[in-house]
Amino acid sequence: MVILTYPGARRPDRTRRVDTSGVDLAVYEWGDPDAPPLLLAHGGFDFAGTMDLFAPLLADGGWRVVCWDHRGHGDSAHVALYNWEADIRDAVAVLDSIGPDPIPLVGHSKGGSLLMQLVNALPHRASVHVNLDGIPAKRNVPDVQDHARTRLLAGELAGWLDFRRAAADNRRRPGTIDELASRRARMNPRLDPDWLRYLVTIGAREDDDGWRWKIDSALRFGGFGPWRPEWQLARLSNLGVPLLAVLGLEVEEMGWGTVPEDLDGWMPPDSRVEVLEGVGHFVHIEQPRVVADLVLEFLA
C-alpha cells in the first residue's frame, strides 16, 4: 500500500460507514470525539481526502470535523443514479449519524451549494453555514447566434447520450501516480503537483494494470440541464442562519467565478463575505491556514 505524505496533511482520526436508503457512505472524522461537531462537505469530483490539509486545522481549533465521500466518490458506494436531491439526502443521513442538534455546516464548491440547500430545507439542523467558493452566479453565456447554439447543444446532447450508452462498460483509465496527478492537474491547475500525487494515493486505487481514480466512471463533468445558478442565489437570501461566504477571486474551470458584486442584495442577515485575492477556487487547499482562521473566528 502506497501512502505519500504532504506537509501539513493529516489523514482522519476515525473512519466509519453510514447507510442511507441502502447507499453505503464512507464517513471520516478529525479531532476529539467529544468536541463540538461540524459537518464538512467536499466539492464535485473531490473526496473527503481533499480535506486532509484543512480539516485538521479546524480539529486543532477545537472541533470534531465530520466529512463524507459523496455517493460515487472516494470510498462511498457507486450507485445507478446521481442527482442533487440524493446528495442532500445523503448529507442528512450523515448529519443524523452525528445527532439531532443544529451544528455548523461547512462546504466547498458543490458541497457548499448542497449544504446551502440543506439549510433552506431543514433550518433546524444548522447553526451557521460556511460556504467556501460554493455560491453559483450567473455565467457569461457566449453571444452566439441561434443556429450555432443549436449545433453546440446538439453536440452536447449526442455526446452525453453516447457516453450513457457506453457507461456500463466504462472504466477509469489506469496510469502511474504521476499520470493520474497530471490528469487531475487539468481540474486543479493551481495546486501543487506533490499535493495531487498525495491525493492519488487516497482517491485512487492500485489495480494490476495501474492506478485508477475511485470515482464512478458513470459520472461526467459538465453537461446540460434546466438548472440555473440564479435559483441558488434566491435560496441564499432565505437562509435563516449566519453565513460566512469565502470567495477566491482567481477564475478557474471548476469554480463559478462568483465575485462579491454578484452577492449584493442576496446575503442574509448576520453574514460576511471574505474575498481572497490571488487565490483560486480551492481556497481551503491553496490557503488552508488563512481559511481555517476565518472559519474558526466565525464559529467562535
Binding site: 442511507t20 441502502g22 447507499v23 442527482n83 439526502r89 440543506l118 430545507a121 443549436t150
Partner: protein, 214 residues
Amino acid sequence: MTVRLLHNKIELALHELRTGTGRPLLLLHGLGEATPSTLPERFEQWPGPVFGLDFTGHGESDIPIGGGYYCEILMADVDAAIAHLGQVTVHGRGLGAYIALLIAGARPSEVRGAVLDDGPGLAGGGPEPGSPLVLTLPPATRTPDPLALVELTRDVRPPDYAQSFVRQATHLSGLDQPLTVTARTRPAWLAAVAGEAGVATADVATALGWYAAL
C-alpha cells in the same frame, strides 16, 4: 415478448406489444405507470411493430438504490431502446410526453415524430424550483419506486429549456413537424412547446397517421 436492455447499472424492460415490420412505435408511459400489458386500441392503427419501455424504477425495470432520478436520465433510458430498435416514432403520456420531447431534440435523426399526450406527471415541478424538500424513504421493494414519484414530480421544467429541445428537433430532424401536441392540459413547458414553429396540434389518430406515412 420482453427484452432487457442495460443502461449503465439499470436493466430496463422493453416490451413488444405487437410484432410487425417497419418503423416501430415506442410507447412511453406516465409517472408511476408501466407499459400496458396489451396494445391499447388507440394504437392499433399503427402499421408497424409497437413497443413499450418501462422507465427506470417503473414496471419491470430495475429500481436504483437511493433514488437520484431526473428527466434527462429517462431520456437516456429511451436512447437505450433506440440503440436496440433503430429509428422510432414515440408516443409519450404525461411524464413520458416530456421525455418524448427531450429525446426528439437529442436524437433528431432517430426520432421520426413524437406525440405528446396527457397523462400522469405531465407538469413536473413547474418552471422554477419550489421550496426545497428532503424526504428520506426506506429502500423500495417494488415499482413504482416512491423516490421516482417524489423526484419526478419536483423536477424543474423551464419553458425556454423545453423550447431548446423543440428547436433541436425542428432544425435537425429534417421533418416539417417533428412534434405533435395532443395533450389538452398545458403546463407552462408544454404551452411554450405548442407555440413553437414545427409543432403541430392534433388528436392522436391524426398524429400517428402523419408519422406512419413518413
